[in-house]
Subunit: 221 residues, 2 copies
DNA sequence: GCGCCACATATTGTCAACAATCTTCAGGGC
DNA sequence: GCCCTGAAGATTGTTGACAATATGTGGCGC
């Protein structure tokens, strides 16, 4: 796995933060459950101080909620929360497309094309079963956002919202049943960016995310 | 001033956070300057632990940048940063308008109309000099965002981005020279929301923010 | 004169103990 | 039987001291 948790130059608090973030996202620490500072500190052989720093960072990510003199709880997952997430993504990733089309860095265009070609090779996608995208650098949405060159936008989406998206994906287990269609939509978005048509790229991305959201809404009923 | 800093039920760390946030926004602590933990702790008669908690919260607001074993610095203000802020606002507040038009709560509509009527009374606005909006509940953008009813959107804008906006406003001292025009734009946006026309409301808000941004761009050259 | 290395200083990261607050549960009163 | 009161227990908030790391300065070699 080569987890970043092992990197030595990180502070203890940061390693705790990364570990706990993973466990919350994947559901090892259940959504809605209470966090006991002394218990977790013992588990990681760390002091409460370092652990508290990690908890505060998790709070600012929106992964847990703290109340003074009461303590921390992992956030609850709700249909409403998921819908809100998609509404915000629609706005921000739409803008990311518009900006990426305006910036049109040759480097990013090459990377986007390459990524798409890689996805096309996947046998799962060809079979129409799933459209698996390894998290991180190779994820379509992640790369588009990076290409926007807007640091604030990148930080908001990649370092804040995407962890919540991943949390919903893991725990509500939503494999995309729109595999081939989603892939085609991705292609069209990249084409619009290549053409420098920011308006179209934004429109397509917003429609793409809205379709995802409606798909989930239908599934939840 | 009746500062919230005096509230007793808040933790010490939270009061430090609120105080420091104000000083950074208003420039009492200069942009780009280094933060000395021992110095600040002495100044507030607090321990470094509590102060560090406040600093971490400021970091998650994007007002401070911390590096391990080096310390914290107040963020630099840059033209690029300001532009990025406006691009993100355009996307998010546009969406907020769309959602507010969809929700159309009678309570919010009344409040919006009332606020606008209040603004119209201002003599500065009538003289075409300035369009002053007290921060917080009576600010136009703040109220629109609240009316979106999307908690994630509200949190992102009101508890995160707006402090950076205020920081730029204070320190680059940008009083709107578009006073009467901005007021008219606000009116039209509210009309669109009242009519339940989310698409139009979004379009008008995006155009409104883009005009603000271009106005600032011109001023900075 | 310029650049590199070692040391001293100051700052940050981490820890364990103390104080304040909330929660729980038992007892008594109505 | 139900609700309120109050003390015990546990949890969180806060503090000051110790350890690890970076910064700045002086001296040495080239």
């Amino acid at each position: 796995m080569n987890s970043p948790v092992l990197e030595a130059h990180l502070s203890l608090a940061e390693r705790l933060f990364l570990t706990l973030r993973g466990e919350i996202v994947e559901g090892c620490i259940a959504a809605g459950s209470k966090i006991s500072e002394p218990e977790l500190a013992r588990r990681f052989n760390a002091s409460r101080g370092s652990l508290r720093e990690a908890l505060m960072r998790l709070e600012s990510l929106g992964l847990l909620e703290r109340r003074v003199n009461v303590g921390a709880r992992v956030v609850e997952l709700s249909e409403r929360g998921l819908l809100e997430l998609y509404e915000v993504r629609e706005a921000l990733e739409g803008m990311a497309c518009r900006l990426a089309a305006k910036a049109r860095s040759e480097e990013d265009l090459v990377a986007l094309r390459k990524m798409l070609a890689g996805h096309e090779q996947q046998e799962e996608l060809q079979a129409g079963k799933a459209y698996f995208q390894p998290e991180g650098d190779f994820d379509f949405h992640f790369r588009i956002v990076q290409a926007s060159k807007n640091e604030l936008l990148i930080d908001t989406l990649c370092n804040r919202l995407y962890y919540r998206v991943r949390m919903y994906r893991y725990q509500l287990g939503m494999a995309s049943p729109r595999a081939q269609r989603a892939f085609r939509e991705h292609s069209h978005i990249i084409e619009a960016i290549e053409a420098g048509d920011g308006e179209l790229a934004e429109l397509l991305m917003r429609r793409h995310i809205r379709a995802s959201r409606q798909n989930i809404e239908n599934k939840l009923r």
